[in-house]
């Protein structure tokens, strides 16, 4: 079975927002509709300071709170395990926005519906379609996309090598792993 997932190496992230704008272009999003959000943490005191940039996007949880709270079934988990919003079913109640622990769901200010990362890089991964996704556009190669059930793919090898983990532990069975 294919179980798509992603690795995000925050040690390489410079917080440049290229992934956000590339994603907007690839997916034709509105200027204020971003599937990737960022947290930036500063630690230490001057001059011994460190800074961490953390990009967050839909974790495509196997135990997805957005899916369980959605009253119309618009948010659902597709056959390939990708959490998907059926735009024809969404009423825009925003319950999923409130329920998502990662706050990565956005309201489309034009339709009122809710949207989020669609793991669009699948097309690139499966048949090499040229895209400007967060994975391919990142100038420092922060992200790796792949099949979590394929032990030979780069994603799984890199997760094992770096001991990457979901950002908030096991709470939602997230399929996005982080190196921090």
């Amino acid at each position: 079975m294919t179980r798509y997932g992603m690795l995000i190496n925050t040690k390489k992230c410079i917080g440049c927002y290229a992934c956000r704008t590339a994603c907007q272009r690839q997916n034709g999003l509105l200027p204020d509709e971003a599937f990737i959000r960022f947290e930036e943490r500063e630690q230490g005191t001057y001059p011994a300071v460190s800074v961490e940039h953390l990009p967050l996007q839909c974790m495509h949880c196997e135990d997805a709170p957005c899916v369980s709270v959605c009253p119309t079934g618009a948010s659902h988990i597709g056959p390939d395990g990708i959490v998907t919003v059926d735009h024809g079913k969404c009423i825009g109640c925003l319950y999923c926005v409130a329920a998502c622990p990662y706050q990565v769901r956005v309201r489309n200010s034009q339709t009122g519906g809710v949207d989020k990362c669609r793991f669009c890089n699948v097309s690139n991964y499966e048949n090499g379609t040229k895209m400007s996704t967060c994975v391919t556009a990142c100038p420092t190669g922060v992200r790796i996309f792949g099949d979590l059930d394929d032990p030979d793919c780069e994603l799984v090898k890199e997760i094992n090598r770096t001991h990457a983990e979901p950002i908030a532990g096991d709470v939602t069975k997230s399929k996005v792993y982080y190196v921090r």
Partner: protein, 298 residues
């Protein structure tokens, strides 16, 4: 880091009106049981209940913009029984049906089967509790994600429901208002319970390990919402009604209690309860901050 609340005024109205409707129905049932002579007040309660809930539902539909543009999508609301909102739709739907039937029967001076009163009251409780659970299952918000909130919303719902019936009585039928002593005593207790629940909610939420709870409480009681919290919710919504009712119930002569002046004092107290009920929901919606991944709220 700034945070834009997900829901605000319209949803606060909806939560408030849904609770108020449920509370009003319960009030009517209570009046029928303990004050059968206060017929008018009972009718008011029975009218207020469906009307407010329906207004609330319409507001909810307005807030769900994508649904508003494509109304047929609302038909899908019953497709996921794992969702609290779906259960809410069930409760609200049944409640509206029952309360409308009861209101019609009452207006036509037909007998209302007691079983309808009981079913309606149970549904009223469900609706009120549901408004709390709706928020409560959002694990990301410590201010919501606790078992106190549904109780607080239930108490507030009954309190505002009673206040609405009492206000109507003061304006239209003061003579009945004078005769519902048990109801008033009961009504008197509720803001005190609410005060205790709000204090507990703040204390417990403040201890949340993520920091988001503390930040939410701070935002509510000491931050940008502090004036609304202390003046509108605590003072106008809880302390003032308690103080006024204490005077009316325990330190006034029977004559004064039945004077028009006293009625207006009660009116002020009940209006305070209604204001407080709305502000409570608004603040709970606006002040709640989600748990962040790495950057603590300051």
């Amino acid at each position: 880091m700034s945070y834009e609340p997900i829901w605000s005024g319209i949803i606060a109205c909806y939560l408030f009106l849904a609770g108020l409707g449920g509370g009003a129905f319960i009030t009517s049932a209570f009046i029928r049981w303990r004050h059968p002579e206060a017929v008018r007040m009972r009718v008011y309660g029975h009218i207020i209940a469906p009307v407010t809930v329906i207004i609330g539902l319409v507001l909810l539909m307005f807030d769900a913009t994508a649904g508003l543009h494509n109304p047929l999508r609302f038909a899908l609301l019953l497709s996921n029984f794992g969702s609290v909102m779906t259960w809410g739709v069930v409760f609200l739907g049944l409640f509206v049906i029952v309360s409308v039937i009861v209101a019609v029967l009452d207006l036509l001076h037909k007998h209302i089967p007691v079983v309808l009163d009981i079913v309606g009251s149970v549904l009223g409780v469900c609706v009120a509790v549901y408004t709390g659970c709706l928020l409560g299952v959002c694990k990301t918000f410590p201010l919501w994600n606790n078992a106190l909130l549904p109780i607080l919303f239930l108490v507030s719902a009954v309190s505002t429901g009673m206040a609405s019936v009492l206000v109507a009585a003061i304006i239209r039928h003061p003579e009945e208002f004078n005769r519902v002593g048990v109801l008033k005593k009961f009504h008197f207790c509720l803001p005190i319970i609410e005060l205790v629940l709000i204090a507990s909610l703040c204390f417990i939420t403040y201890q949340d390990t993520s920091g988001a709870g503390a930040a939410s409480v701070a935002k509510m009681i000491a931050g940008e919402y502090a004036p609304a919290f202390w003046v509108l919710l605590i003072l106008v919504g809880l302390v003032l009604p308690t103080a006024l009712e204490t005077r009316m119930l325990f330190f006034s002569s029977r004559e004064f209690e039945e004077s028009r002046k006293a009625h207006w004092i009660s009116f002020a107290s009940d209006a305070g309860v209604l204001i407080g009920g709305f502000v409570l929901r608004l603040l709970i919606l606006l002040a709640a901050l989600p748990i962040t991944m790495v950057v603590p709220w300051v």
